[in-house]
């Protein structure tokens, strides 16, 4: 269980005015839930994720995990970034083994586990490739395997498929769902794609633009396991997408009003 309790975030800017990125956000995320945070760019949704990750401290309020206030990063919360952030001097295998090795897992065991994970994300045969030799989609698969390798209770995904082309993106969404449906980790998923959020999530948190506030939390009541082809034809799915898109349009208009 993750609780976000009246979290606000103020960024000091180079000008005189401080920028209020997040304003009084409160949100509870149950164990095993797939929750997406959806909003226009600049709504502070990534910042919220970084606060849960412990990478950024909130100006006000607190984020708690299992009742304990989050004060810094830890292996119980594994991030996956849009920028992949792989270690370029390590091979695919070296990247995936990094976390387990750091946790004190014996080299042979870490290697066996990592090879299994690499196979699970569909990269068998690429163990000894360097990140530079991989395409964006492959890099993100490695990043996911690297994070899964140290068994975080929560996956923090920061627009993980944002830098990928549409086709690759769909494939990775499908694979992520398959992996998730196997072990049901808690996932906090930041995106600006409505379809992606509805397709993947149990719950979609819609945010307003600057300052970021929660506009609405939508429970996505669609059966699992979800199959993309079925879902796209499902009127319930279509309604969720349209409704949420409308909410976001409203918030953009608020923004344009003087």
């Amino acid at each position: 269980m993750i609780e976000i309790d009246r979290v606000s975030q103020v960024f000091r800017t180079s000008g005189r005015q401080d920028h209020l990125a997040l304003s009084e956000i409160s949100l509870a995320i149950e164990d095993g839930a797939f929750v997406s945070i959806l909003g226009p760019s600049g709504c502070g949704k990534s910042t919220l994720l970084y606060i849960v990750g412990g990478f950024v401290s909130p100006t006000e309020g607190a984020a708690r995990m299992k009742g304990k206030t989050i004060t810094g990063p830890g292996p119980d919360r594994g991030p996956v970034f849009q920028e992949f952030a792989l270690f370029p001097w390590k091979s695919v295998l070296g990247n995936v083994m990094y976390g387990p090795r750091q946790q004190g897992v014996k080299t042979a065991d870490a290697e066996a586990q990592s090879r299994a994970l690499i196979e699970m994300v569909g990269l068998k045969g690429f163990e000894h490739f360097y990140p530079k030799e991989l395409s964006g989609g492959m890099k993100q698969r490695v990043a996911l395997a690297r994070t899964l390798a140290y068994h975080p209770a929560v996956l923090l995904m920061d627009e993980p498929f944002g830098a990928l082309d549409a086709h690759t993106r769909t494939r990775l969404q499908n694979d992520l769902l398959n992996i998730w449906e196997r072990d049901r980790k808690t996932v906090l998923f930041v995106t600006h794609s409505v379809e992606e959020a509805v397709f993947l999530s149990d719950k979609v948190v819609v945010m307003t633009r600057s300052p970021g506030r929660i506009k609405e939390i939508v429970d996505i009541d669609l059966p699992r396991p979800r199959r993309r082809a079925e879902l796209l034809l499902d009127p319930r799915y279509q309604k969720y997408v349209v409704d949420i898109e409308r909410m976001i349009d409203d918030t953009s208009e608020d923004e344009l009003r003087p």
């Binding site: 990750g53 412990g54 990478f55 810094g72 990063p73 830890g74 292996p75 919360r77 594994g78 991030p79 970034f81 920028e83 952030a85 792989l86 270690f87 370029p88 001097w89 390590k90 990094y98 976390g99 750091q102 946790q103 569909g122 490739f129 360097y130 990140p131 530079k132 030799e133 991989l134 395409s135 989609g137 492959m138 690297r146 994070t147 140290y150 975080p152 086709h167 690759t168 494939r171 990775l172």
Partner: protein, 261 residues
């Protein structure tokens, strides 16, 4: 079929050297003065220098000072540069100091340093140290500053402490840049080595060169220039070989993304 083009590529440096020596030879024949020996005369003087025990001791003394000055500079400069790159406080403390020292020709400090430390090894090694430090600090600083924040966050999430992140993420991530600085530093070490021996003559390759100059042995002067130049090429080639092995993962030639999701 490969042999023709590959052979030309491989022998290009040699051809360039031969070309330079050819131009020298012709120019010296045209100018025809004692103080400018021909390339052949200079080359002919090399064996007698390299065959002379005294000269070899001098050259090894130079290389020893250079190695120590370079080694100590690298050991001190890399951590300092990395810390500057990751901490604004450390950077703002050291930056002005470095900016003041950077444009000063290090050999110009030699007379002052000699007043404190004498004309011996320590003074020369200190000058070499100063010459090497700045580019290594600067490149380590740049390299550390450019390390992606998210990479450090990923490490922090795995449980790496701040010190571990410095040693195991910042250092390897900045290594290509650091080694570029070291390569510049190596050449500067050679330059400062020779100039320090020009000012404080006691032993060394520079000592042979400038003594020969004083005595009007111009073939020896030019032979020494060739020897020092060859040392430069050798050191640089050796370093480059090591460098490209260490940072193979970052070389542009390596950049062949595969088409796969």
């Amino acid at each position: 079929m490969i042999s023709g083009h590959a052979l030309l590529t491989r022998s290009a440096p040699l051809l360039a050297c031969l070309g330079l020596l050819g131009i020298w030879q012709v120019a010296a024949l045209i100018i025809n003065t004692d103080s400018f020996p021909t390339a052949l005369e200079a080359i002919r003087a090399i064996p007698s220098i390299l065959g002379d025990k005294e000269s070899l001791i001098n050259i090894f003394a130079s290389l020893r000072r250079m190695a120590i000055g370079f080694g100590v500079a690298v050991i001190v400069s890399i951590p300092l540069g990395l810390m500057m790159g990751r901490s604004r406080a450390v950077a703002s403390f050291f930056n002005p100091l470095l900016m003041v020292t950077y444009p000063v020709p290090k050999a110009a400090l030699m007379p002052i340093i000699m007043l404190w430390l004498g004309v011996g090894d320590i003074a020369k090694m200190l000058v070499i140290f100063l010459g090497v430090s700045l580019p290594v600090i600067y490149h380590s600083f740049q390299g550390a500053k450019a390390v992606e924040e998210k990479m450090l966050w990923s490490g922090a999430a795995m449980g790496l402490s701040a010190a571990q992140r410095m040693a195991r993420i910042v250092l390897p991530a900045a290594l290509p840049e650091i080694l570029t600085g070291c390569r510049t530093g190596l050449v500067l070490a050679l330059i400062t080595m020779v100039t320090s021996e020009m000012i404080a003559r006691q032993s060394g390759a520079g000592n042979i060169l400038f003594n020969a100059l004083d005595m009007g042995q111009y073939d020896t002067v030019y032979a020494m220039i060739i020897i020092i130049g060859a040392m430069g090429i050798g050191l640089d080639a050796g370093f480059e070989r090591m460098r490209s092995k260490l940072v193979k993962w970052s070389e542009p030639g390596f950049d062949i993304p595969l088409s796969f999701a």
